[in-house]
Amino acid sequence: MSARGFLRAALLGLAALCWLPLAWAHKASDAYLVLGAVAEPTSAAGAGGALAERLALRLSLALKDLDAALETLDADGDRQLTWAEVRASLPAAQQWVAAGFALRCGGEALPLSWSFDTLEQRSDGNYLRLKTETACAAAAPLALDYRLLQGIDPTHRLLVSGQAAGQPVAAVLAPDGQASVELRRGTAAGTDGLAGSGAQAAGPVATLANFFTEGVHHILTGYDHLAFLLALLLPISLRRGRGPVPAAQARGRPGLGALLLTVTGFTVGHSVTLALASLGLISAPPEWVEPAIALSIGASALLNLYPVRWVRGELLALGFGLVHGLGFSGVMAEAGVQGPLLLWALAGFNLGVEAGQLACVLLWCALHLAIVRWARYDQVVVRGGSAALVLLALYWTVQRVAG
């Protein structure tokens, strides 16, 4: 507590400057925006057309902040702000908000007409809450620009919460820093700081290349996807002149045909769900998808050990491929790509995944051909490997359910 001594020292004549208190009664300046869907479906209003989602916006502004922005708020200048003064200033406040607050739907700023909602009491004083409604196509990108109090308070923040397009939204915007945000799927990513470097600013070819690399990287470091592929490939023997190994016999065609069908099945499966999820047509919570991916590995490996005649490898690959595609889509969601570039990103990512997958399959084939003549290949590699994969899958399942 000794630090406060110099407050006195400062005030006593050295300079009108002080050591500031170490605890505050309040926080710095915040505004709050709550987004919500409007219950009744509407038709052609706004930019959206038939698929338009109506959005309700509620913006809470501290009266102290409004005073700093609007010279005329305290009309009589007595610093006692009355309800009559606030009401008389509503048009000016709405105009000020309209100038510093923009919601962009598909790149176009939506015309917003703010009106008075209510007064609010918060921990640091009283607030004015304004409301408005608008519409934006459910598939169109939705972005927010916020410049209120720019130049007046560099520590001012807008705290965004609520729902947009059925997804939770959360963001913290700073008028003098990160003043824009993409609101979609709850994975809003800033654009201001990224412009020029991120996929947002890149052209179709750059996006394709960028996400191709991303896809290769993801499959090569996605051990669970590789483990699943291995579980499918283990029972397939490419050895000529010998009968297929028993497990493969039970699970489908022997040899190269089986291998191609299985890999194709996996590719088709995960491409379908990856595309659907990235386009926002389906969604699945990661807390279900991740354990399901682990279980898919265990199930495939277990079927190598205890074959079931009617379960064919390529169908297994197709079915579980759908689940793995949902897992891949998480990466796309994190990247937060919106709008026309999404298709390029999706194509690039998928091609990258296939390329990485193909490289792994070729590597496996080479290894397989090198050791398949070993007398105990079936016992050690196929059965032992499958058993190990079952254990690994169990471990991942537990870890993902618990985590």
């Binding site: 507590m1 000794s2 630090a3 406060r4 001594g5 110099f6 006195r8 020292a9 006593l12 050295l14 300079a15 400057l17 002080c18 500031l20 208190p21 170490l22 605890a23 505050w24 009664a25 926080k27 710095a28 809470s60 501290a62 009266l63 102290k64 700093a68 305290d74 610093r79 006692q80 702000l81 009355t82 606030v86 209510t118 007064l119 609010e120 009491q121 918060r122 921990s123 640091d124 009283n126 607030y127 130049g151 007046i152 308070d153 560099p154 520590t155 705290l159 939204v169 959360a170 963001a171 913290v172 809003a188 990513a189 800033g190 700081g193 990224l194 470097s197 991120g198 994190e334 990247a335």
Partner: protein, 384 residues
Amino acid sequence: MSPARRWRAVAGLLLACAAAVVPCVHARDFTAASDAQVLEVLPPRIRSAAATPEAAALGARQWIELARRLADPRYLGRAQASLAPWWGREDAPAALATLQATVQQGRHEFDAARSTLEASLRREPAQPQAWLTLATLERVAGRYPAALAACREVGRTGAALYASACQLETVSLQGRFDQARAGLLALQERAGDAPTRAWLLSLLAESEERAGRDAEAARHYQASLALAPDGYTALAHADLLLRLQQPAEALRALEGQPASDAVLLRRARAYQLTGDARWKALSAEAAQRFADLDARGEPLAPHGRERALAALWFEQAPAEGWRAAQANIALQKEPLDWWLALSSAQRAGESAELNALRVQLASAGLRDARLARWQPPAAEGSTR
């Protein structure tokens, strides 16, 4: 990872954190009863748009003074806006750099405040205020030799009284209580005006409290407050009274103080000690304020002292209390911060951390009777 991806990852992480806490922010809707109802008492108008360094300094000082008087950090942001054209600039006029450091210190950005001051003092060493603020930063960081060096620089600028007080306060922290007492009493007698004497008496009171002479400390706090009321002295006085199990007197000492987080917590503690149920409402209000800070995405450390105090007094959450106290002691090392860290570590059963803290305390060289049970007996040279 490319920079863009890294930014996206960071943004995603921040958003996820914000999403977890934003719904907790509390607001109560209301309607005005009449046109004449006063919705807000506004602060005096202060010009923020600064054309000249002089105007910027004037505006920033007024905003800082307002922030201090109302215990409202909102106005530190306005002070920063006043200084905006020079903020963070190497060639900013010295007075503006010192003001920037004050804003940074007020936000508990101690390292930033220190670099700002050091850069400014390298270019223009004859700034008593900047040296004094730097000395205080060093004391808060527990670097007493560096603080003493800054005190000597205050003396070189000719501000003898401030240089002496600076030096005496620092050696008192190092355990030379008798030297501090004699020196501060002599200064106090020589000082002319009441506010200066009140300030020196408050330094003396704190020194006596560290020396374990609680009755003398209480007497000096009272004498200081009688000469010139001051929020910080009142808070220190209340802390002493709470420690001496005199909650009713502590409440009286805090009468008329703005309800800063620190004051709110002391009031709640006093009610709790007297068995008055009002402590629950006050501690809930403190918890709400902490939730609002989280929603802004503010880090734990700058509010760690209050959060650790709240955990220690009102919550059955020793692990959380220790986390807050640990973040706080990394930021500031005044006697209260050591006491909080040591008590919280002990309560949380962190014996390894407790021992590490004791080693750090010994190497910092702070002597304080309130920390005696964690300190080895006074070494030679400390006069108790």
